[in-house]
Symmetry: D2
Subunit: 196 residues, 4 copies
């Protein structure tokens, strides 16, 4: 169980150290765009897509109209809408392409990425920098020291650290949004699906 606990510690440590990158201005701009848009479209590839969906569910619970790009009922995006995209590298093909289309149609774009200088970062109106494990970390002496048994196997492989930190940041943002919108947990329950 040593590796399981090491992985959990690694994840928690990444989240803690990543919070230093969150600044008040970005959080306020995110909330402003999310609450002032007619519809919020979310998107991400792979596990980042699941993070986007988890956030969309809570937006709906708050009474914000949200859609997942690619799901059945997602309509056209217009200039009073916004798109929120999640991509560690900021270079995922389908995401950069969709955000480009959205921007051309006049929508606002919010991004979570580890690379604000990426294609996605440059397209977005506002970027929340989410520290994940990066190539630099991988070659990093500190990183190696943190490895278990000196075997250099990553305990948080691929985008794990980025994805989990993004999810927890977005759940933190929900807490802020609840207060800003004057909502309680009962308001969220009111819109929570009952059919499953």
């Amino acid at each position: 169980m040593k590796l399981m606990k090491a992985a959990i510690e690694e994840i928690l440590s990444n989240i803690e150290s990543a919070t230093e990158f969150i600044d008040e201005e970005t959080v306020n701009e995110f909330m402003k765009v999310l609450t002032e848009s007619k519809n919020v479209f979310v998107m991400g590839a792979g596990r980042s897509g699941l993070v986007a969906k988890a956030f969309a569910m809570r937006l709906v619970h708050l009474g914000i109209s949200a859609y997942v790009v690619g799901e059945t009922i997602s309509p056209a995006i217009y200039d009073d809408d916004c798109i929120l995209a999640i991509s560690g590298s900021g270079e995922t093909n389908t995401i950069v392409s969709a955000v480009g289309i959205a921007k051309n149609r006049g929508s606002k774009a919010l991004a979570l990425t580890s690379y604000p200088e990426s294609s996605l970062g440059k397209l977005a109106d506002c970027v929340m920098k989410v520290k994940g494990r990066t190539k630099i970390d991988i070659d990093d002496e500190d990183y190696i020291k943190r490895q278990i048994d000196g075997n250099y196997v990553s305990v948080t492989p691929l985008g794990t650290a980025f994805e989990l930190t993004s999810l927890i940041f977005l759940d933190g943002l929900i807490a802020e949004l609840m207060q800003k919108m004057g909502k309680t947990e009962d308001d969220l329950k009111y819109r929570h699906t009952v059919l499953e």
Copy 2:
């Protein structure tokens, strides 16, 4: 290519013979419920679920608020909403259960099924009977005659005939709804997703 053409003929023949069960009253009741509901929830299991989704997309294109049960952003169902369920047998567990919950919350229920006397059929406010291949057909002499090479292998296995007939009925209903709502193909394009 003989079997492919035989299967296509079998499917077309089922659709043609199934249209005799469509009556004006049911069509009008379906349209009334769909246009008067605040939100339309659709559901089906397996390939019937895909039929439900294909219909939900067109409802959205028409400007009707539609949700797929089980997708990310589906909210709670209330008494000014309706649920449309698709099940050949009318006995699919998850569907009967969800429609029961919806009815208890005061929602209207529409059903497509081959068995109006099924659990789903009994729960629904209005049932569109969709003829599929049934057990009776399978033992039927005519059915056997229609088989290719006398090998009794079904060319439209499992629920194929029911699913395709349902889909085409619902696309037919879209044509009726377009006229009733005064919509043109351009109105549909206006809401068609642009992000894929």
Copy 3:
């Protein structure tokens, strides 16, 4: 109910007239690629994506390993795999891009499209031409004559005719595959999900 029946007739008529484009060689090549691939990846956008999923379900029932591009568990594609893509125009961005990647990795590509000369058509190793309603048809005198009440409103809006014809062609292909693989309806039931 006049428009509903007109739409159904329009759909059936498109399917019938489209079958003349199916040729033995294409059908055989499709079956060869589908049965000789280690994994079959299917994809399509919007309602064409639902058609792709409906086909993937039946492939799985036949014991062929199939994946839907973008779903949770879809793995990497390799040179012993194939991709089957469905796009009326053959120009859908995400599809052309994914098929290009698949081809670069050595996979085979099968396509259903109304335009064999499209980007998708050119990338594919084998194309099944699926006639849908096209721009040419829309300006066509015959088409107008088929319209109800002379109101020029399409009773099969957007890609409806293409999508339904594709679905029925693929279900016809399943009948061929069943025979080629020596499978019966009971074999299909053996793999049909039981958890819904």
Copy 4:
């Protein structure tokens, strides 16, 4: 930004305090069942379903055959398979029903829940207890003290704490599985989708 940081702290604190419930035996039993099953079926409702999908992706990356209940290509479950279900309350209707069916067909069942004494907990062969915020916590003096501004608004509403703790436990389990199976991050990359 006070609430966002408070929510993040609350989430991290729940994860830390929940780790005391993980025991070596449960972890080993989970790994044994996951690696010895022919196919692993995962399921969860709402955000717990997204957690299940995030885990299934990593299982696939490890070379374990995994399916998400309800997705297109999920086959029938048999007695050499297992199902892993995630439900905070352990009483979600569709989950208890599906796990019951799976058990009747001879499959093994693994569960993550806050309530090992729930219907799900009782059905499962092995339960990982995942502490979330419970009714007891809500009335708890400590909990209230942790609230911001004394407004008693939960900063981690609904199942947030349970869902995130489950996800991080399962990502920890992936680290253990990687070592047990002798896999490296490069092995995971080998199976990571390339088509998005």
